[in-house]
Amino acid sequence: MSISTRLDESSGPHEAPNFPLRVVDGLTLPADYRKALRPGEDWKDSNGFSRQLPRYFYEVPSWDSAMKVELATHFLLWEFVQVDVRESPVLRTFPRYVPCAITLLAVCLERFREAVGTFVHISANGGYRSPTHRFSKNATPHAWGTAANIYRIGDTYLDNRNAIERFSLIARQTLPGIWTRPYGTPTGYAEDHLHLDLGYVLSVPRDVKS
């Protein structure tokens, strides 16, 4: 298969069993999408280290499908793709594209949900957001689909030190290798949500030949 073509046009060997979303090579997308998603490009993080952006995405054809697709038992796709007016206009309409690593994040959150024993709510702009989202100043794992901002767990709003640090500890104890933002107000800290991420993980579907 050429890397410059979409990986699958219908159900077939490239599609994960029981997973309804098509994998798309970001480099084959129209120019306006490539400009917004910057597939495979390098992007520097806040420390000046270069990180490679995701190149392979799941294509989300409609909001209806985002509402239906389960990424994990208690997490539907729509929860990871809620973005507001700060996202690039082309990425606010459908079809939308999310990095393939989003499924890894969902599995981690499912594990976290089991540990806390109640609902875990991802905030708007708190799942996947593109590198051209207005919040994306430096390379952030949100643009890899591997970060989540959690604003509420059960009936607890994570808007204070006690709640954030309590659930941050549970996340770190439950999910090996997870990184959580410390509580605080300066840049790099969080005071009104729990940020957790897996780092700059690239997920390349096994049928991709490059």
Partner: protein
């Protein structure tokens, strides 16, 4: 803050002391004296007769929530430019940065009359919903969210382009206590707000359709103790109030049956513990209503 020589309405009666003008001024002076207010400003433009009144109308006051009218204009400017749609979604997040050293602050839910926006924290609301809450229940959270999307400089530029920037000085969002303590506040004059209201009432803000949408939002105002309080039931008022410890304002367009509307701004300044603010605004509004409609009755 100096006069920038902005546009309509012209102060065509300023300096022209007619009997009606003198009578009104005299009555406002009396109300001002009896109320205990530190200062009162009134600006009036009657589209029916062309009559105008400008009483202390270029004096600057802390804007309080009347600044939300210029912000509404800024939001609709972004809609007019196609940068926003009425149904564009905005992340409801209660975290803002002060204009003083970018120190984070929150809007206290207990100080916000509106709970709908606070209940949506973490989720998203539409631009038109936020605009509605910003005006009708004066939601400070909605105001700061919208200002965060469009930016204060965008509002200022909109006012300048529409030539209604004279008398409006937008410096920051609301509830920025650190800025308040440093003396950095949004300021307005009665004439400044009047120019915006007249433009809206005449359908000249961007387009008649967008002007009408803004007026519809102003018509939804839920705080009606000021300008509308002593008007007849048939009166419809599209308006915005504003109140903090030292000021109480109301600015609106009054629609009465069988006549063109009039635009009225009443700004008042008080010592913190003095009461009777809304009553004072209502008295001035009623007095102006009486004056404008008596003339019409006399002519009939």
């Amino acid at each position: 803050m100096t006069s920038k020589g902005a546009a309509a309405p012209s102060a065509k009666t300023a300096g022209e002391s007619t009997p009606r003008d003198r009578a009104l001024r005299s009555q406002i002076e009396r109300i001002e004296k009896e109320s205990g207010a530190k200062a009162i400003a009134v600006a009036l433009h009657d589209s029916e007769s062309g009559f105008e009144l400008h009483y202390n109308a270029d004096r600057w006051f802390h804007a309080a929530s009347t600044i939300k009218v210029p912000i509404l204009l800024g939001v609709f400017a972004a809609i007019d430019r196609g940068e926003l749609l009425p149904h564009s979604r905005v992340h409801v997040r209660n975290r803002f940065l002060s204009v003083v050293e970018s120190v984070p602050f929150r809007v206290e839910s207990g100080r916000d009359a509106n709970s709908a926006v606070h209940n949506a924290i973490g989720k998203m609301m539409r631009v038109d919903e936020l605009a509605y809450h910003m005006i009708t229940t004066s939601s400070n959270l909605a105001t700061n969210l919208l200002l965060g999307v469009i930016g204060p400089e965008s509002v200022t530029e909109t006012l300048r382009q529409l030539r209604v920037d004279d008398g409006i000085d937008l410096k920051r969002g609301v509830e920025d206590e650190l800025a308040f303590e440093k003396g950095i506040s949004n300021m307005v004059t009665a004439n400044g707000l009047l120019r915006i209201l007249v433009m809206l009432a005449e359908g000249k803000a961007f387009s008649p359709a967008l002007s009408r949408r803004m007026m519809d939002i102003l018509h939804g105002q839920e705080f009606n103790q000021g300008i509308p309080a002593r008007l007849p039931k048939a009166a419809r008022v599209a308006h915005k109030t504003g109140e903090i410890s030292t000021v109480a304002h109301d600015a609106g367009v009054v629609y009465l049956p069988k006549r063109k509307p009039y635009s009225l701004v009443v700004l008042t300044e008080w010592d913190p513990n003095v009461s009777g603010r809304s009553r004072t605004i209502a008295s001035i509004s009623h007095m102006i209503y009486e004056m404008l409609t008596q003339k019409a009755q006399a002519a009939e």
